[in-house]
Symmetry: C2
Subunit: 364 residues, 2 copies
């Protein structure tokens, strides 16, 4: 039997742990995994493109665990009341090839994206950062704000989106959370939101080379958390921001960021830093209070690996409500597949206690 975490269950787990605590703990897992970067078998994502969107598989593994995420990107879905991005994933045991967990990842992707944004900002933003501009108030925005409030001690957020309904939605959700030490301001433009902010987070969904941030909006010492530019032809920052002499650009995985990130606009000879080096301390996230730091995040399979392993652990710890699905046959005689199908072959004894008889996986 395989553990199953659907949309209902992830909501239960988050209600139990608390969303900000979940993201903070997950950031810890991501940090550990990025610091053992060379343990991972990293491969490019497999993408199936159509005229209206893309379906991708993102696999990664170390010597013990294998994960992949299925994720789609269909910008026109919102017109039909559907999500632009949905995702799910699998955690499997490398030693046996058996899946251990099937989980929804639409929510988990939002959680892990905000977690890694805040983790990077901890190393890159000025330590006295308290004000964040939130450009793009869609599906990702609540998660980003909660993670930065918890992990960076952001105390003022300034909201802007070209879609006023999105800002109203964000405002409604933030008000319901009643966070006592968070000031919320609605700005009239990106420029107004960014003016004097310590951190500018961009999470827009425009599928083109957009100019969400232009050079005159960027001030010395700012940290730019550029989340929305995440595929070829989809960027948010003006190239002159990337080319500032005082800019310091960090990416998750350079080969992928060169194709999908803001840095697709740069020549490959223009240097960037990988997050693993910043997290391990090999390279600094910031070298002065005047530098403009840019985290050019596109989402990498390792973030999902860390997230699936964390959710697997959390789901097992909260045993009440844990669900199993019969995705894999459990047979006493593995050669008697026919007997399993016809009910004449008994299940393996381990099935009766709801787990496959693998050796326990040592979770990092």
């Amino acid at each position: 039997m395989v553990d199953y975490v659907g949309t209902t269950r992830i909501a239960e787990l988050l209600a139990h742990v608390g969303t900000a605590s979940f993201m903070e703990a997950l950031a810890g897992e991501i940090e550990v995994d990025f610091c053992r970067w060379h343990d991972f078998d990293k491969s490019p994502r497999h993408a199936a493109h159509s005229s209206v969107g893309v379906i991708e598989l993102m696999p990664i593994s170390d010597s013990k665990l294998y994960t992949f995420k299925y994720v789609n990107g269909h910008p026109k879905n919102t017109h039909d009341g559907l999500l632009t991005v949905t995702a799910f994933g699998i955690l499997a045991d490398v030693a046996t090839g058996y899946p251990l967990l099937l989980s929804e990842m639409t929510y988990i992707t939002a959680l892990r994206t905000a977690a890694i944004s805040a983790l990077a900002a901890q190393k890159m933003a000025r330590s006295n950062s308290r004000v964040m501009a939130m450009i793009g108030n869609g599906a990702q925005s609540e998660f980003q704000i909660l993670a930065f409030h918890r992990m960076l001690r952001i105390r003022e957020v300034r909201l802007f989106d070209t879609d006023k309904a999105a800002t109203e939605k964000l405002l409604r959700n933030l008000s319901a959370l009643k966070i006592p030490d968070l000031k919320i301001i609605c700005s009239k433009s990106t420029a107004e939101a960014a003016r004097g902010a310590d951190i500018v987070t961009t999470v827009t969904a425009d599928k083109r080379n957009a100019l969400i941030l232009t050079p005159e909006m960027v001030e010395p010492g700012m940290h730019l958390n550029a989340v929305g530019g995440d595929c070829p032809g989809k960027t948010e920052l003006h190239i002159d921001i990337l080319r500032r002499s005082d800019a310091r650009i960090v990416v998750e995985y350079e080969p992928q960021a060169r194709i999908e990130g803001e840095i697709q606009q740069l020549k490959t000879t223009e240097l960037v830093i990988e997050l693993t080096d910043v997290l391990c301390g090999t390279k600094a996230g910031r070298t002065s209070d005047h530098e403009v730091t840019i985290f050019d995040s596109v989402g990498f399979a390792l973030n999902d690996f860390s997230a699936l392993r964390y959710v697997y652990k959390l789901n097992r710890e909260q045993s009440a409500g844990r669900a199993l699905i019969d995705l894999v046959p459990l047979l006493n005689d593995p050669k008697n597949l026919w007997g399993g199908l016809t009910g004449t072959e008994k299940p393996h004894p381990a099935a009766l206690v709801g787990k496959v008889p693998t050796k326990p996986i040592a979770l990092v």
Copy 2:
């Protein structure tokens, strides 16, 4: 909500339809799909190798539907009471990227493998074939025998396996089926089973270049259904059988078969035929009663595509017992992911009737 077919449900569906009828209908679907070969976006499987096995993702799509199968291969699993191969798969809507079905595929892989074996044999074996040798009596064997009994009118099977317990298991399962017009013989060796047989099916699991069939066992007019050789270094036929001047070799997908099939032993200049050409009638499956025909089957993503679409249709037709899982959030406002998680955003009305509001997929 996404349709879910687990191991229990596939057994229910098979009990309802009948296993032989299922495989015959599935063979029809496979034939239709192989005849529109160029509609498909075919890509190599993604393999993650470890010292003890492999985990693979096999994606394929046409303009309407996308599928992938997750499948592992861990030969040593049987020592721990686990299956060597387990699998599951997804059918998704290309237009929206939403998954439509999550299904177990350990059983379905056995069913589709037998279906394509019998389909190929219909075009390749002599039409008066009535006797089949069954070399390898493991997990695949019952499915092969049932498919060949139904689709080729095989009336005598001769069983052989180096593992006597496997043959006893197969004999027990076949006896329970009480097939009145099928004679079952236990042979003492591969040579004895093959002698005078019309068809020889090899489905052994030995992970090396084995010599299950050697040249002196092969008689003019025989059809060899070589299923077990399916990865680099794992073959069943002696190279001299492949190089007989009267041999006619058919494969599912040449680029893959050159790496994984029996023909990995041949030079790439030695010609083979693709199944699509035989099924479309461009090339003959057999040109004389004396020819030795060889179906060198390794399992291709398109077989799984046809199978997942067929199971999706069947599962919806048998609405009693149909299960849905909450793998994807259903939100009235797709930008309000946070509201979905906290229960403040209502689900999209379509969720209440248990389906996503996509346009119905026209199933081929």
